[in-house]
Amino acid sequence: MTDLRGKPPGAPGLDDAALVSVLARFVGTARAQGILLRARSELRGRPATDSQLIARLVEGVRSFVGENESRRAFAELTRAASPKTIEAIEIEVKIEADIARARLAARDICMALGTSALILQKLATVVSELARNQVLYAGGGRLVIKPCPGGRRCMHVIGSDKGGGIKNLPEIMSGKYKSRSGLGLGILGTKRLSDKFEIETGPTGTRIEVEVNY
């Protein structure tokens, strides 16, 4: 079992002892070690961000303590891991399953930031809409989720693809458009959810930049 304690390649560089000491305050040392061991083994062999590890630890804590306590555990773990918890996340979006992967990554980043549930929901939805458009209409693309520069309390999402562009953008933005696969709200909905929205589209591809304040 000892090999599970070893940090896998590409895994978070968080100090296990520090994490256990935080967890131990909520569930005791023995359980804290168990939770960490399990989280590490679940993430083993996969590249994971600090926030993914913390999310798993909090899930582990939640099975022993109530919701409020596990939220406090989350805040303290995030503090223990800062300031490098929030990293830019890049997601290659090619197939349908990547849409779910992208929105789960957005959730992780929001949980790591400790945003409200509403902001989490907004960002996850924005990411999901952008990713879906890339899969359905552009044959795939790339998403980057990162903190806004300059220490502002906001998240920056960039979606770019090399598809054929959006030909009926004015119609979509006017709200009159109804797509065959959805409500026609992918782009318009994203704009409504975001605090800043920029779009460039042409025959060589589309780039959408979104900011969501928290």
Binding site: T125, R132, L183
Partner: protein, 150 residues
């Protein structure tokens, strides 16, 4: 692939159908769901359909569209649909986006949804004896869970 993991339970309950959506519902899972639910409605002549989204962590416009379409198709078959259990953040997000849910009825809780579909419950007080019977088992299973989690 139609595998066990991406199937959502379709529960039959007093001639109604309850579909509890949970976690992250992918587009693929949602597509199977529509198929499963409509087939169950036909096979059981269900008098109503409840889609419970309590366990969903997020809903985007595509999933809304799938659910709205499912409700519309069920309506064509003569079965009314009630959606229940939407969390405040999801409701606010869909509202901001401008998603239109007027096609289906909504209710706050599963209980309200079933009532809306004509199911009324008679709840009798739990006798102290029943409660005592239930207790040791509950404790045992909680303890074994704690053990396995360690």
């Amino acid at each position: 692939m139609k595998t066990f993991e991406n199937r959502i339970p379709v529960i039959q309950l007093w001639q109604r159908i309850v579909v509890p959506l949970q976690g992250d519902v992918t587009d693929e899972t949602a597509a199977f769901l529509v198929d499963d639910v409509l087939r169950t409605i036909r096979d059981t002549s269900a008098a109503g359909l409840v889609i419970d989204v309590t366990g969903m962590w997020t809903m985007d416009s595509h999933l809304c569209h799938v659910i709205a379409n499912l409700a519309a198709a069920a309506r064509l078959m003569g079965t009314p649909t009630v959606i229940c259990g939407m969390s405040a953040p999801i409701a606010m997000t869909l509202q901001t986006m401008g998603a239109d849910f007027r096609l289906a009825q909504t209710a706050l809780t599963l209980e309200d949804a079933l009532e809306r579909l004509g199911v009324s419950a008679v709840v009798s007080e739990l006798e102290p004896d029943d409660y005592d019977d239930a207790t040791p088992e509950t404790i045992t299973s909680a303890a074994s869970f704690a053990k396995s989690a360690d």
